[in-house]
Symmetry: C2
Subunit: 280 residues, 2 copies
């Protein structure tokens, strides 16, 4: 009977942990749910930790102390991260995605839940230590990846708008220099969206010259929010000098072949070295 | 030994099934992963089905035939759905959310991954039978709920824009009558975003007069795409006559109390009756 109960508990705990990534769940809450002793549940956690590690399902950590418990993180690193990002590079390199002006049609890939969830998990894996309070993104295409990154980090998303909206209340508007055309654009964020002293992780889909992330960093200064990191799905090799430093990118757009209408896209160097580090 | 192996398999299978909602996973794929016999895995599935039902974790169905296998759906219905929606109603009814013009500040709630995932699962639960090919939404605030609905249904999201973008390629633009002001607005959808003959589920965050969902239905006519259903997180009691019929809503905004700055929001009638049906 106890064996069957354990089987049951482990399946249910897997579901519960996956539903609340990066949140500390107390052993007490599981005791209550299953009517089991803490000692049994501690053993359950140990077994789950081994299984998760063995099958590359993410990490399970025991957090000690008064607010202690167990915390699940859908970590994707090394070989698995490299392979997932390579697959997205392959999809985006398909012929026919190049649009006039050297733009790439990415909207379909950026709205596939399974793809953006994997990318979000990979991005989150890089920022658990920084403990951001929310993920900041700029509407529209980056929202799905930002949301999935926030889900993995167990924090909310905050969306910067292109202009003030009546349903966002009082807002701070700032001007920024748009990547390509050196045009002055406006971005707007509701006053009540964030709190002074918080830390943010900035996530976006695409960076060329870096004007948009730079604008988001400037916006955060207006709110006295510090920036724990900036990560984009794809950045371009050119221009090499961006308007902002320290941006991490999953994909690098090396060049565009106008004759075939396809792009040369590859996983960024840090993903390649992380992969080697895992294999060695 | 076999017992330990089963424990392991069930935890890993739970994770894999949750990662691919509404997709048929073959027994063969699990046999390969675990090196186990089909008969053991059939038993595993039976056990998991019982556990999932017992703990209200969603449904696990066996699909027979050549393309057969097992399919997980994160169904939330009845009492659990009612309670989740009530909690969102409570959050949105908090004083201080009312903005000039009778708008409600919802942006923070609409960007919380755990909240929108639950709402997405509830919306998806209503449309599995209709088998939509994609979820359609209009930028910006509805994107997180639409994405999570699409995730539960195992299908992509498609985002309608307010204007054509250089990175979306050739697009179809249509005019529609915006809910409140009787203003003519434009919406734009990339030509390559959807295919003729597909079926869509339209998901949005808020509906007052219904101009936006009506515009999305008209847009789908231009693409020869049929509409399997329309669902919004919240609709207003007034005006009672909307520009479009048959829209399902999770929440009903009954009235706004200007003196306290709070709104009277409750779960829609169909959620209440679904709850009663479960309890009776």
């Amino acid at each position: 009977m106890d064996r069957i109960r354990r089987t049951e508990r482990l399946a249910v705990m897997t579901k519960i942990l996956m539903d609340s990534p990066n949140r500390i769940l107390t052993l007490g809450s599981f005791c209550e749910k299953f009517g089991s002793a803490k000692s049994s549940l501690s053993e359950d956690i140990d077994i789950l930790r081994t299984i998760f590690a063995q099958y590359d399902l993410g990490t399970l950590e025991t957090v000690t102390g008064a607010a202690g418990g167990v915390r699940y993180r859908p970590m994707i690193t090394g070989e698995a991260a490299y392979n997932s990002v390579s697959e997205v590079a392959r999809l985006l390199s398909q012929p026919g995605r190049i649009l006039p002006g050297g733009f790439i049609y990415m909207a379909d890939i950026l709205a596939m839940p399974d793809v953006v969830e994997k990318m979000g998990n990979i991005i989150a894996s890089q920022y658990y230590r920084q403990e951001p309070d929310f993920v900041l993104t700029m509407e529209t295409k980056g929202i799905p990846i930002a949301l999935m990154t926030a889900k993995a980090l167990g924090i909310p998303t905050v969306i910067v708008r292109r202009d003030s909206k009546v349903y966002e209340g009082p807002a701070v508007n700032i001007n920024y220099i748009s990547g390509t055309g050196n045009r002055i654009e406006t971005m707007s964020l509701s006053r009540r969206a964030v709190k002074e002293g918080q830390r943010t992780l900035i996530v976006d889909d695409f960076m060329r010259a870096g004007g948009t992330p730079r604008g988001m960093v400037d916006m955060m200064k207006e709110f006295s929010v510090s920036v724990a990191g900036i990560c984009v799905l794809m950045s371009t090799a050119e221009p090499a000098k961006k308007r902002i430093d320290g941006v991490k990118s999953l994909l690098m757009l090396e060049s565009i072949d106008d004759s075939t209408g396809s792009a040369n896209i590859r996983p960024s160097n840090w993903l390649q070295s992380m992969r080697k580090a895992t294999n060695s």
